[in-house]
Symmetry: C2
Subunit: 609 residues, 2 copies
């Protein structure tokens, strides 16, 4: 044994014990003939005292930062106690020590605020992982993992491993593929999720399944995406939507309790997708703050917006509003006295390419009861007051109005809302607000292919009322311009997303479990009968042998951890993440492989063009 105790456990009650510790040298301080060393391990830091008798030994074997040492000595009470350290009441008077391994100077400082840039820290991730900030993240991740497993276990869920080498069924995201040496010219795919397997397990009667499982998507990486990511993947039989919502509200509340010591005893709000889009411009609204979107004018899902506002626009002569498909507003509390500079800056903000608007109109709801806007030429004060009332604005609010094409304007308004929430400090990292978003459209229309695509995935069931609509209608879109009036456009999915602080942390659905309906779905997606059988014949087959009603959910484990940890970046919560080019710079992977390997796999590289 290299140690009798860890560096986190000794207290005043251990005084006079002879102990051996092992760990990393965090700091070395010399006072005359005495040397103090802070020794660190995973569990904490303990102060070691090297007295006069060890001077010559320390000269022979000088210690350095990050050296790994083993030291034996007696626990003594400190004269200068440190109340900020759990071991701050004691120190160890060292009798003997040994250097277990030396350390060269690290390429960046191993401290909470490091001087290492992203690239350097990734290349030396094993050093970055020593930093408290990163260690706390991984500990939180493990705590979430543990909490979820315990809850699911207590609720009769079974962890069942599903395969990683499966079949490529291009649909949705791109698969990573794996050439098979034993089946030359053929490829496995890595799973994008264990979706079909967990459904088969329900057909097999396993009733409640879970897995904390790696999934893979070969998509172009944006800031917060990883080619491999982890899901908490769950499925249940003999359930309707309500049962699933209840079960997984329980899960998330348990996680809050175990990991954050938060008793999340509020009812979790439920919102339809339509309402989320209308009132927040977004299908994953951050409801930590209000500032709802006022739909002055809109074409969203056949809505028209506010009649009084529309008529005001018509009579105003302000073409920007009158010609716009959509005019949306938010009322920002307490900002009526924004300076011209501030409103100009906001205008620039919405004009940035990421937001893409042409401009911003504002109305000040002054504290003296007057109204003032950037479009006073077109709207008299009474019209401004009318608009303010329609927006539900209060005295002291600054109303921000965006106008343009429906989709872009809605998205921009949502972004602007979040930005203003951020600026006003309404998006507190230590406040957590959960939300279910329900009743998503089952289909989206893919203009380029003139066909329906599944919004969630092709195994999602329509809401019970909408099943007859799906079965009773031909999915063919005869007139692309009028796809919105096709009966399929109004079919809602029996699906649900769990949203936390404006982030989708989980999503799922009640599944189709009848062969006929599943075939209709494939048909609706433009898949031929042959193609459907080739790709999903096993599932269609399974549905014929007694498939129970079932549904499930998958939580994005990386993201869930990040949000619980108060961060936007999932990368900080993954031990060995990849960069935006999908590279592991520490390993220098991916890399080239031998000609021999290629030959064995019966593949070759495409000649460079």
């Amino acid at each position: 044994m290299y140690r009798t105790h860890t560096c986190g456990e000794l207290r005043a009650t251990n005084v006079n014990q002879v102990v051996t510790l092992a760990g990393w040298v965090q700091t070395i301080r010399k006072f005359g003939s005495i040397t103090f060393v802070d020794l660190r391990d995973r569990y904490g830091i303990t102060q070691l005292l090297f007295g006069e008798s060890l001077i010559s030994l320390l000269d022979e074997q000088p210690l350095g930062r990050e050296y790994v040492i083993q030291a034996t000595g007696t626990v003594v009470e400190r004269t200068n106690k440190n109340p900020n350290m759990l071991t701050g009441d004691i120190e160890i008077e060292i009798q003997t020590f040994a250097i277990l391994n030396k350390a060269v100077t690290p390429p960046f400082t191993i401290q909470d605020d490091t001087d290492g840039g992203d690239d350097l820290r990734m290349k030396y991730r094993y050093l970055d992982l020593r930093r408290n900030a990163v260690k706390r993240n991984l500990q939180l991740r493990y705590a979430v993992n543990r909490s979820a497993r315990n809850y699911l276990h207590e609720n009769n869920f079974m962890d069942i491993e599903t395969p990683f080498l499966i079949k490529s069924t291009p649909e949705g995201a791109r698969d990573f593929v794996v050439p098979s040496r034993m089946n030359p010219g053929q490829f496995y795919a890595l799973p994008q999720s264990p979706q079909t397997f967990k459904q088969l397990l329900m057909v097999s009667g396993y009733d409640r399944y879970y897995q904390v499982v790696k999934c893979f998507r070969d998509e172009d990486l944006r800031a917060d995406r990883q080619p491999e990511f982890t899901q908490i993947d769950c499925e249940m039989s003999f359930v309707a939507q309500e049962d699933i919502l209840n079960m997984f509200e329980g899960l998330i509340k348990q996680i809050f309790l175990d990991v954050k010591n938060i008793d999340y005893n509020q009812t979790i709000e439920r919102m339809t997708w339509n309402d989320a889009m209308l009132h927040y411009g977004n299908d994953k609204p951050d409801i930590r703050f209000e500032m709802k979107v006022a739909n002055l004018k809109t074409v969203f899902e056949g809505e028209t917006g506010n009649a009084a506002a529309t008529s005001l626009f018509e009579n105003s002569g302000f073409k920007v509003f009158n010609d716009a498909e959509t005019v949306l507003a938010i009322s920002v509390p307490g900002c009526s006295e924004y300076t011209r500079k501030q409103t100009d800056e906001l205008t620039e903000w919405v004009k940035r390419p990421q937001i893409g608007m042409n401009g911003l109109v504002y109305i000040r709801c002054n504290t003296d009861g007057t109204y003032k806007s950037s479009v006073d030429k077109f709207f008299d004060e009474s019209s401004l007051k009318t608009l303010a009332d329609i927006c539900g604005a209060k005295v002291g609010d600054l109303i921000l109005i965006l106008a343009g094409r429906e989709e872009r304007t809605r998205k921009a308004t949502s972004e602007l809302r979040l930005e203003m929430g951020e600026r006003l400090g309404l998006r507190r990292k230590d406040e957590f607000k959960l939300l279910w978003v329900l009743d998503f459209p089952l289909f989206e229309y893919a203009e380029d292919e003139n066909r329906w695509v599944a919004r969630h995935h092709p195994f999602t069931a329509p809401k019970p009322d909408h099943i007859p609509v799906m079965i009773g209608n031909d999915p063919t879109i005869n007139n692309p311009a009028e796809y919105l009036s096709h009966p399929y456009a109004n079919i809602k999915a029996n699906a649900y997303d769990m949203v936390l602080n404006g982030n989708e942390i989980g999503g799922g659905s009640i599944r189709i479990y009848q062969r006929e309906l599943q075939e209709k779905m494939f048909d609706a997606l433009g898949m031929s009968r042959e193609e459907a059988l080739h790709k999903f014949g096993f599932l269609l087959g399974a549905f014929e042998y007694g498939a129970p009603p079932h549904g499930g959910i998958a939580f994005g484990f990386d993201r869930l951890c990040a949000i619980l940890g108060g961060s936007e970046s999932i990368r900080d919560f993954i031990a060995f993440p990849k960069n935006n080019s999908g590279r592991d710079t520490m390993l220098d992977a991916p890399g080239s492989i031998d000609e021999k390997q290629l030959t064995e796999l019966c593949i070759q590289l495409q000649p460079t063009q």
Copy 2:
């Protein structure tokens, strides 16, 4: 909610309650106007009684085997109680029911003893998974998983996920590779184990790591191998071998207790690799029974065997023994009266190509104290007695003797020992005997390449005493014929295998943690400095920044489950296994991929030759 209770929970105390169950129709029996249905779900079976009032409804909606139904009724006490069923005291008098899904006739019977062959059951694995036998296996697997996680958690281990898309470092087994679209011409590899990552985590100070993790090896598949398999992977810092053995004895004992309700309170025996090979012919001996190998003559690791026996052979004129490199014997208890037919059959058994011996010599230690052998021409009775004494044979034993080349003879003797143990019923599936095998050779000699290869893997440390031998000697083998006399041939690894009933269930080692020694290891394996840096530069680098002494172990989770479940086949304990050609016949994977996918990945298939 589709049900108020499961099919496993209703008891006499529930009588008079109105309940709703949902599940699969297991059997249908009609008695006049009454129909009994056994309804099955994951939790059990409950008898449903459909009375006279439901006759017409059952005529309209006839039930069939494996139909999924929902039924509501009143719990009543049975007149004919079934003490073999947990729900056998009650039945449900059904008031209403609904067919949730129909089922066509399954391709094989879903019963403990199915009529389905392997291929059929694999193609319809989702039906096979309904069978009790398979369900029990997966439940046991989950119980082992859960038990291991709990034990490791209580001992401060942290589950940390390591990446799946890593770098190919051909060494040992073949990697599965994954072409990278974003890095054209480059490939990821799937991990054969998280070895280097868990070591880096130790360098990072995580102290105690575990993971239940999929690993991948692209090897030709033998009966009991899968291209993807699961390990319980663990690593600890600041430990010596003894610490690891203690920790993981605790783990396996906990698993026995939790999963098998066995209090394994015996000391776990420890045996050196040398002793295992000498006395059992095998590095993973089944010690549920004795029947040790007598080394009458041998060249194993410089041993010579028994001098008296050798001299007897010299004087016997029996060239088979006298010319043989190795003569090994086992004494099979109580078999002295085997018939000629039986000994002939045993001779045929050892001559099978899998065993590959030329013949078998036997000595009967008759119950009347006389000796009789198949080589009476060469050995008089006193010589036979001498041999029997050397073998430690007792009255009533049948001594079986094999002779030939060292390696083959030893292996054959081991196989014969296991076969005789099996025939005598000494290998009881409900008896469990654990064993540590220690002190493996660090290196093996690869004749074809005239170099050393790592027996375990290149990160395994030599035993502490042997480190100076490794550092102090040049690994070059000048004379291939005399490799055994090279100092490296005698270096023992600081490694350990856990053996259960003759199967290796886990293995690990104390690792090298000094850059210099690791470089020497790569050097010894014939890896150039450049190659070592290219493949493992990150690890060599990590060792310079304060690497603690560490070691670990990995358990073969599939095999562990199989043995605990009393089976030899890991496939029965994997939800969706692959066949011997690495195919998933249910999915029909691997399969071909689109030309578009190939193009995106910048690879092409090799033209067929």
